[in-house]
């Protein structure tokens, strides 16, 4: 047996870290996790109104907003996705690529996400000259993640959101922010997640707040349920990072959930 151990040491391969997070989203934003190649991930997310809106609005449940999305893994490192949100009738698409993968030889996972969002809501002033590009937004993110232990992972995500058109003359066209998030496994199938996006004061839109979210991931076979509370109403980078208005610590909290279901489209060769 000892001989066998010596033998297997010789051929020790790169051992990639798996399951840094349960799913491809931490809560609102992207996690360093990708959909496996050939797998389609159908995601439905819901966001409700502020809990502080009181019993008349059933603590926000009367105001539901949703996004449905289809994500697909092209390779082990590359995935793409499209989605449609009821919030401002917005279409979105993104591409995410893993440049570095955490392994026994590499301490971190490094991914880049590029997104484009199109607000299909009609123009406020249809009589003036409007440009289609005024309703297009871009986002760019770097995801730096590390799985520290079996149950604990952390992630940093510097982000830029570009607005082709902003409301005020003095509003920046580029919103800069740095996000941080993590997850802690409570059991094999349940984890608690937290996510915070800090907006740089000189590069944020007026009257917006930083996005705060806390939630649980619950995994059951082919589904992942994410239940969380957040102060953001949008579900794409532009809307939750740059356009959050509620103050989480003053009761402007919304309940939200995401259901993710994966379908294997192309089976891997065994």
């Amino acid at each position: 047996m000892k001989m066998l151990e010596d033998e297997s040491k010789e051929v020790r391969k790169k051992d990639f870290t798996t399951a840094t997070f349960k799913t491809t989203r931490l809560i609102n934003g992207h996690s360093a996790e990708n959909v496996a190649p050939g797998v389609l991930d159908f995601r439905i997310s819901h966001r409700f109104g502020f809990l502080s809106s009181g019993a008349y609005e059933l603590f926000g449940l009367d105001q539901a907003s949703m996004r449905m999305g289809f994500d697909y893994g092209l390779t082990k490192r590359w995935m793409i996705g499209v989605g449609r949100s009821t919030y401002q009738k917005q279409f979105d698409g993104f591409t995410k690529f893993k440049f570095l993968r955490q392994s026994n030889q590499m301490p971190i996972t490094l991914s880049a996400v590029g997104g484009i969002m199109y607000k299909s809501l009609k123009f406020d002033n249809p009589d003036q000259i409007n440009f289609l590009t005024s309703k297009i937004y871009y986002s760019g993110q770097i995801l730096l993640a590390r799985k520290f232990s079996e149950s604990f992972s952390l992630q940093l995500m510097p982000t830029i959101i570009h607005y082709n058109l902003v409301e005020g003359v003095n509003d920046p066209n580029d919103v800069l922010s740095v996000g941080a998030g993590g997850r802690m496994k409570l059991s094999k199938r349940v984890s608690i997640n937290a996510e915070y996006y800090y907006q740089l004061p000189d590069y944020k839109l007026p009257n917006t707040t930083n996005s705060v979210s806390i939630g649980f991931d619950i995994e059951t076979g082919g589904h992942v349920f994410q239940l969380y509370v957040t102060n953001s109403s949008g579900m794409t980078e532009r809307s939750f990072i740059a356009e959050t208005t509620g103050n989480f610590f003053k009761g402007d909290i919304r309940f939200g959930f995401t259901i993710s279901r994966v379908f294997t489209i192309v089976k891997p060769k065994l």
Binding site: L4, E7, S8, T18, A19, V39, K188, L270
Partner: protein, 182 residues
């Protein structure tokens, strides 16, 4: 001089020993769980195994992470939730051919073999007996075997939610082609 002698003796001992050792690094081990709800199958093509024909010993080292599934999520759950491959990266088998006298490794042919030993999966060691075929051709050995194990014997917990999709007993197939170890 003394050292040299020891070294020489060692080398002799090792070479003398290895003539009877056959090895593979690309052995195949697969398992199959069948229920009316769902069939689950996974294959590992990177199994390391040694047979010592002189002593009749046979050992396997199986990396859990090298089992591959049709569905990526199943593979993740298999590693994360069921076999806990970070805690228990390897399954091993260490055993003896109990009917060694009936097998002639020098002569080509197919022999029925019974193997007995300790199978360790998920950190739990259990006594296991398996029967299979051992074929000798041109000095090379090929082994095939099929046997079943009980998941509860190895403390692999199945949550009630998926209990109908995962069989309580799993069929294991072994298919290894050994080369003489030089």
């Amino acid at each position: 001089m003394k050292r040299f002698l020891i070294l020489l003796l060692n080398t002799l001992a090792i070479t003398g020993f290895s003539q009877s050792v056959h090895m593979t690094r690309s052995g195949q081990v697969s398992f199959f769980s069948k229920t009316p709800m769902e069939n689950i199958e996974a294959v590992n093509n990177e199994v390391t195994s040694l047979i010592d024909t002189g002593k009749g010993e046979i050992v396997f080292a199986i990396l859990i992470k090298s089992f591959h599934f049709d569905r990526a999520l199943m593979e993740e759950h298999f590693n994360e939730n069921y076999l806990e491959s970070n805690k228990f990266p390897k399954a091993t088998f260490q055993g003896k051919i109990s009917n060694l006298s009936k097998i002639n490794f020098a002569k080509d042919g197919s022999y029925e073999a019974t193997v007995e030993g300790d199978l360790t999966i998920h950190g739990v060691k259990q006594h296991q007996t398996a029967t299979g075929t051992l074929a000798v051709a041109n000095g090379k050995i090929a082994v095939t075997s099929t046997f079943t194990i009980k998941l509860s014997d190895y403390q692999v917990e199945i949550p009630s939610l998926v209990a109908e999709k995962i069989s309580k007993t799993v069929e294991i197939k072994v298919n290894c082609h050994y080369e003489p170890k030089s």
